[in-house]
Symmetry: C2
Subunit: 341 residues, 2 copies
Amino acid sequence: MATIQDVAREAGVSISTVSYALSGKRSIKPSTRDRVLDAASRLGYLPHASARMLAANRSQIFAVTAPLHTDTDHSAHMVFAMEVTKAARTHGYDTLLLVDDDVSEGMRRSAASSLADGIVVLDVDAHDPRADLARSMTYPTVFIGIPADTTGLVCVDLDFEAAARLAIDTLVSAGRQRIGLVSHPLETMQRESNFPLRFRDGFAAHAAELGLEAPVAYPVEHRAHEAVAQLLAAQPDLDGLVLNTSVDVASSVTAALAEHGRSVPQDVAVIAAGVTFSTERFAVPFDTIPLDARASCSVAVDILARIVDDNLTAPETTLIPPTYITRGSVSPTGAAVTTGT
Amino acid sequence: MATIQDVAREAGVSISTVSYALSGKRSIKPSTRDRVLDAASRLGYLPHASARMLAANRSQIFAVTAPLHTDTDHSAHMVFAMEVTKAARTHGYDTLLLVDDDVSEGMRRSAASSLADGIVVLDVDAHDPRADLARSMTYPTVFIGIPADTTGLVCVDLDFEAAARLAIDTLVSAGRQRIGLVSHPLETMQRESNFPLRFRDGFAAHAAELGLEAPVAYPVEHRAHEAVAQLLAAQPDLDGLVLNTSVDVASSVTAALAEHGRSVPQDVAVIAAGVTFSTERFAVPFDTIPLDARASCSVAVDILARIVDDNLTAPETTLIPPTYITRGSVSPTGAAVTTGT
DNA sequence: CTGTTAGCGCTTTCAC
DNA sequence: GTGAAAGCGCTAACAG
């Protein structure tokens, strides 16, 4: 591997000139700069990562902690990890994966050894131990997800409360007043995984504000069957359904409703909200308020990069406003169904 | 952050003694060693990663390339990435995630800058560009998956051919001779994703050896419906079904068969083979020949660590023998169904 | 605008 | 069994 020495020799300049020509941290006469750049590319020179880290006291690496619970959606996880990685690359950072049993120890280790310049925390529970850890470490850390106590933490997430409100308001505008929510399995809720709770509570709160009774069902066995039956028992005239649930459950909702003789959207309007999957290929595609991994991750990484690079302090919590995608699963009560082109 | 200097001072020894006491690379009088260890833990000392990397010319980092195709199973991906990471940690390595559009450039970059000591390649296609890249780089690289041309590469994977044979032989032993295969979507096959091809070809070859006609169907829309119909058209007396397919398809097989009045395992015995998901919670759990991420990843990482640490040359291809898990979806023709406890 | 040089914090000879 | 010291390849003062 070529070193900066080789490039300097090849270009007939000193190593500091090479360093500055490549980093742009001070102005270099264009002609010498070109000679350096030439020499560098001729030799296929790339700075030795460790040497640069040591000298600059910066690793250009972000650690990502993504514990794998039995009930977490690995697929969503991967997408988040990947999006964090992509966003990090645009800022010149690579990402290190911290695992499972090792999350706390891994966070401590990567901080204490200066392995990473900052940490991105994924899949945050309401009472996530990583929250206290982050508070005790004074190490640049950004949470994607919101723990119960955000004091002193930097958090980014979709505004799930607003998403729940948007879902309800959209249904109400379409004349749907008998609304139910299919949430996540009780197992997930009991773990106090943060966003299912926030969504459900936001949903309940806004329904109460509007004076709506709005039953909530927690699916079992990754199917919508029981949850839908439960909602229909509580709300026999159900005409609006909000799904903040897994892809398996969501994809079986139309069939579950059909078993009770209800069709989408004629009888029941459906909105999937705060979900990472696409409903595009469902039998009936659902209107969606997406949990956009790219959006959250890119905002989170931008913030982290700003903290590390420009050592700015960041806002405590950044909520990403929900967006709405229409796919035809919500029509006004009794209205004719229009099909897209 | 405490440095090795601090520890040396605290323990009243030289820094080289500290280094050796901690690395164990030469013998230190137990009493001084204990003093050093004490001082280190008292100060919460952890070696500065970059400094160690530079001096030792080793980053203790493996890069992991895991491109995300539109048709790849993100969930399986995450599990592999995590398992690689866990295995790497047991050897004292961390893992860096290399993304998507960036895989080739990322591999080059992490090699040229000595960012990583080795590379683990996931989700390998038959004609994966990363194969040629690896051949041209002389950088410690292990493929989890097997490209068409393995010359000069180190590859690890489940023995899919053996898995296909095992599936067929098991069905035949149970008196099932009219066997079909539900494979992956044509999109995946056309991309020449390696293992679906190897499984299908192994399946076809062994069926031919046994003189069995064995139709293959490629699902569409992530459902078993059409594929099952197709197999029944080709093989009206179908009594054995091998699934090397995605979880969505597999989970809808029992229902698809029911639509044609066939039950599992009475009419049709079913084996899921070379799959990462569990069929435990299916309506009818299927016998499974798992594609065990942990097994593949741990073998692959062991090999990579051996190459890097002990600079051993590795065997070209390591095939992991299939294992069989019984869940009651295969019973001899006409036999009574026995239920597990 | 460019060059010289002092580190960054470790590992590892080399000397005792 | 221990210590002194020479780097590892860069970055960033400092000096022109």
